[in-house]
Symmetry: C2
Subunit: 142 residues, 2 copies
Amino acid sequence: MNIKIILEGKIKEPYFKLGIEEFKKRLTGYTSLKIIEVNSISDFVKSNVKQNSYIITLEIEGCELSSPEFAQKIKEIEQDGICNEIVFLIGGSEGLPVDIRNKSNFKFSMSKLTFLHQEAVFILIEQIYRAYKILNNETYHK
Amino acid sequence: MNIKIILEGKIKEPYFKLGIEEFKKRLTGYTSLKIIEVNSISDFVKSNVKQNSYIITLEIEGCELSSPEFAQKIKEIEQDGICNEIVFLIGGSEGLPVDIRNKSNFKFSMSKLTFLHQEAVFILIEQIYRAYKILNNETYHK
């Protein structure tokens, strides 16, 4: 499964860069993951997101999942076989525009708390890694 | 208000260290914050936590708050005037022992997702900083 994380904005802080790089490295062998920083999510989605992409929008009002439930969600998308990539969309400080939210296949809330966007990318990538550890029955920190 | 974050375990990863240091620095002027790494939370609480400490345990099954609600919570503890410090307790990989959970004044869940302990410290310190920005009506990233 190809996974893309699309972020409106930039990952600037060195600690986020380092942390994200670390988990990207760890994910090699489990899945292909790309992080793409864009100026406009709407423009990006229009020209780059295909029909067979499963779109997960990160929305504070979305559906909260536990880590095992999130792993299960990824497994289900893989097993469905309809989509060959999962695209996570993280909006800028104004959140995601309505047209994008309308295209979402799943509205995912990681927390009721507001996170920095760069922080959201880090938390998400760690959860994706955790999901693959869970799905492969491998030990990982609780 | 004095704030202490007590963590069973160590902050090892360089990206967590860097990120936590950054927010500790930013919090200077808002509050006095100490992070204390301990071998056993139970032992630490027995000998160090005073009657006038407000204990917040981080528990996945606890009560979830939005960032403004979390800020309000801190404000209320300050205004109550009964407690002169807030002590956040973050357990090891086995979570917090029952005796500690029984002493909790507030069980706080940051998410339904499982986080690394070091990550939980980072997310918490960023939320404490966010809380003070909210309480002081200062601009900060959404």
